[in-house]
Symmetry: C2
Subunit: 412 residues, 2 copies
């Protein structure tokens, strides 16, 4: 079955992605932190490519690259990001940008389609300086003071200094023109193994989870590890370990099938081999697309802290340090992606949520937004071995272009 | 009952301890790290006091202060240390030095006793630069290369630079003259609450525990905390928590009543809130005075690691990074201390092991050695609130002097 329209050029998409991989190559992946020379060279690469799609681009005062055109008629915005996590994969970000570029090249040059696709590369999606700073700036959610305060997490360098050094200081920041777009579509590697395990090719994203974060603190009594009898200890580290195990045992009964939770950091104080820790802290994260589930889990956590404190010998306290905002994806765009998948990968798509954060969750605040996933080999991500087969990359591009066409022509 | 001999002057002992507390005072404790101006001033204080006991002292090339006399006849060596843990208590170290000074003042000036007491302040017992460096140097267990490599744990400063700055570079290091002493006696605060809880006044130390240390490593798979389903995770941090809890549950059945064990440090790698830890490590310590017990516990640990690895999803490996050497105290000296306690604190002494390390465990390699404990209020140590009542300090001094007399005159 064909659509009667030009489709994505898979070979060109793969060639483009390999050109981007060559900029800042690290093993089979890349290393291009935000505002690194390799990141800026990748933006320059995109600027050179945009005219092929009838677009011209500029980089704004926070590092967003937006490529716009003069074509009248309905417009879609599509994109992702070009900087990478440190020493990480080649597709996390560039895949979505190159798909957007390909959609613009195909659709903007197709005389049978009256609409057009414009292309965005959002800055710092990977959070070297902040949290989704580029797309948040575009929707008007980043004050100058936030940029003043932002520093590179890896070396403490001020974002203002970084912006100055790459020549962006003082430039205006692009902001969304309400009503310009029918919607926003972003493609991404899945970063999990759901598609691969089931032999599927396209994920139709229904929502992006919210991230809730908690600082859980255990207070005992610091003492000498040699002279303090076991029976009289108030070991905050041991209390923490018991709490982690209790979460592992009790959360499944209260979580949804989609909920994930993680203890990513543990600190014992003072952290010396001969001292019983007097206090301990863990950073604990819950992700879900349903706030009601998290409310339930948060109540459970608080009850567990109360029980543990009452049982002793350490006090447990829980502080919520980040409240999640799940972002449902637009129903019409979901239908467009699913319809496109039915044409090019019949019965091999799946409606699924995104466990990772993406710029689409920010864009969803100001326009209908959607996402399309392609399979990740082994579910690996944020590592230089991250990969997707060429066939799946090409198929994803074809579905992406068709989904954009469907949104623009309202044939969902 | 009296002994017919001059006894310790409790008021003088307490006054001396307060003079030392005034040097480097921190809240109600002190802050005098090894080779700090306050540590060196404390050594200078002792040098000025020694002539009252018929002794003259010198500071050697590693910072040990040894006060010796010209008196013939049997000799005892007594002492402890004058530097402190950072921002810690006033008695940990100085108590033993001032008791030794008091014993020398009383006994060396007593015409009825033919023997004498000599006084030592061992350098760096608290391990700012190494492990019991001063006393180990005195028994011939510190090579020049160890000093070359030693650095201040808190700031990385080379020990050679510190020695040069306090004027000790190039000085010879004192070493034990075999046969000079009948034995070594060291007094210390208990640093636990055993004496206080039982209403006792004197601990007769039977042995100093050995310290065994292990690096326990958990290997899982680092992955994205949002996109990796709970069922497929290999969370090394969670495996570590389960292992800590298992130790807590299973160790008591295999330990002796004296065994203590501590997890003092935990590290998750990479330690970021949104990343499932791919590996995790804990520093685990066991202290006991019976190596057979530790052999049993080490087998248990290895069996537990094997079980956990087999059960999955993470591999657990155990590396012994320090082997303990328990030091039994000399039976004759134990009898002397107990006999002295029976005179001055009848039925209020207890034979007990030391859970903390002390210079006496090093001196025990070259001469009969013993220790005497006085109660610690609330069992608190290595903290500026560390304290012992004036009455207990004075009583301890009296028992200490009498114990030295008994060793010298062989009336145990």
């Amino acid at each position: 079955m064909t659509t009667g329209h030009a489709t994505a050029n898979g070979a060109r998409v793969i060639a483009d992605l390999n050109e981007l991989r060559a900029i800042g190559a690290y093993k089979s992946g890349v290393h291009k932190p935000t505002f690194s020379p390799e990141h800026m060279q990748s933006l320059a690469w995109l600027l050179r490519k945009l005219p092929d799609a009838g677009l011209s681009g500029t980089i704004d005062g926070i590092g967003n690259l937006i490529g716009t055109g003069e074509t009248a008629g309905p417009r879609m915005l599509a994109g992702s990001h070009l900087e990478s996590q440190s020493h990480a994969g080649w597709l996390d970000g560039p895949l979505g940008v190159v798909y957007a570029l390909e959609a613009a090249r195909i659709i903007n040059n197709d005389p049978n389609i009256s609409g057009s696709v414009e292309v965005a590369a959002w800055c710092d999606e990977e959070g070297h300086f902040g949290s989704l700073l580029g797309s948040r700036s575009y929707v008007g959610d980043v004050a100058e003071a936030e940029i003043d305060a932002a520093r590179d997490r890896s070396n403490g360098r001020a974002m203002r200094d970084a912006l100055r050094d790459v020549g962006l200081a003082g430039l205006p920041r692009a902001s969304v023109e309400r009503g310009r777009y029918l919607g926003y579509l972003e493609a991404h590697i899945e970063q999990g193994d759901t598609l691969e395990t089931r032999g599927l090719k396209i994920g139709v994203v229904t929502s992006i989870v919210g991230i809730w974060q908690y600082r859980i603190t255990f207070t005992g009594a610091q003492n000498h590890a040699g002279t303090t009898r076991m029976a009289t200890r108030k070991d905050a580290g041991l209390a923490l370990a018991h709490f982690c195990v209790a979460i592992d045992q009790r959360f499944p009964d209260f979580a949804s099938v989609r909920t994930v939770w993680t203890t990513g950091r543990i600190t014992l104080d003072p952290g010396a081999p001969s001292i019983i820790p007097g206090s301990a802290e863990m950073l604990f994260q819950i992700r879900d697309d349903d706030p009601d589930v998290v409310v339930r889990l948060e109540s459970l956590l608080q009850a567990m802290a109360k029980e543990a404190t009452a049982a002793g010998p350490c006090a447990v306290s829980i502080e919520c340090i980040r409240v999640g905002v799940p972002a449902p994806m637009d129903a019409g765009i979901q239908d467009a992606v699913e319809g496109a998948a039915e044409v090019h990968a019949p019965s091999r798509s799946l409606r699924m949520h995104s466990g990772a954060g993406h710029d689409a969750q920010i864009l969803a605040r100001v326009m209908p937004a959607g996402m399309l996933f392609v399979p990740s080999i082994g579910g690996i991500s944020h590592h230089w071995t991250e990969n997707t087969s060429d066939e799946d990359i090409a198929l994803g591009a074809t579905v992406f272009v068709e989904a954009c066409r469907r949104v623009l022509t309202a044939t969902c």
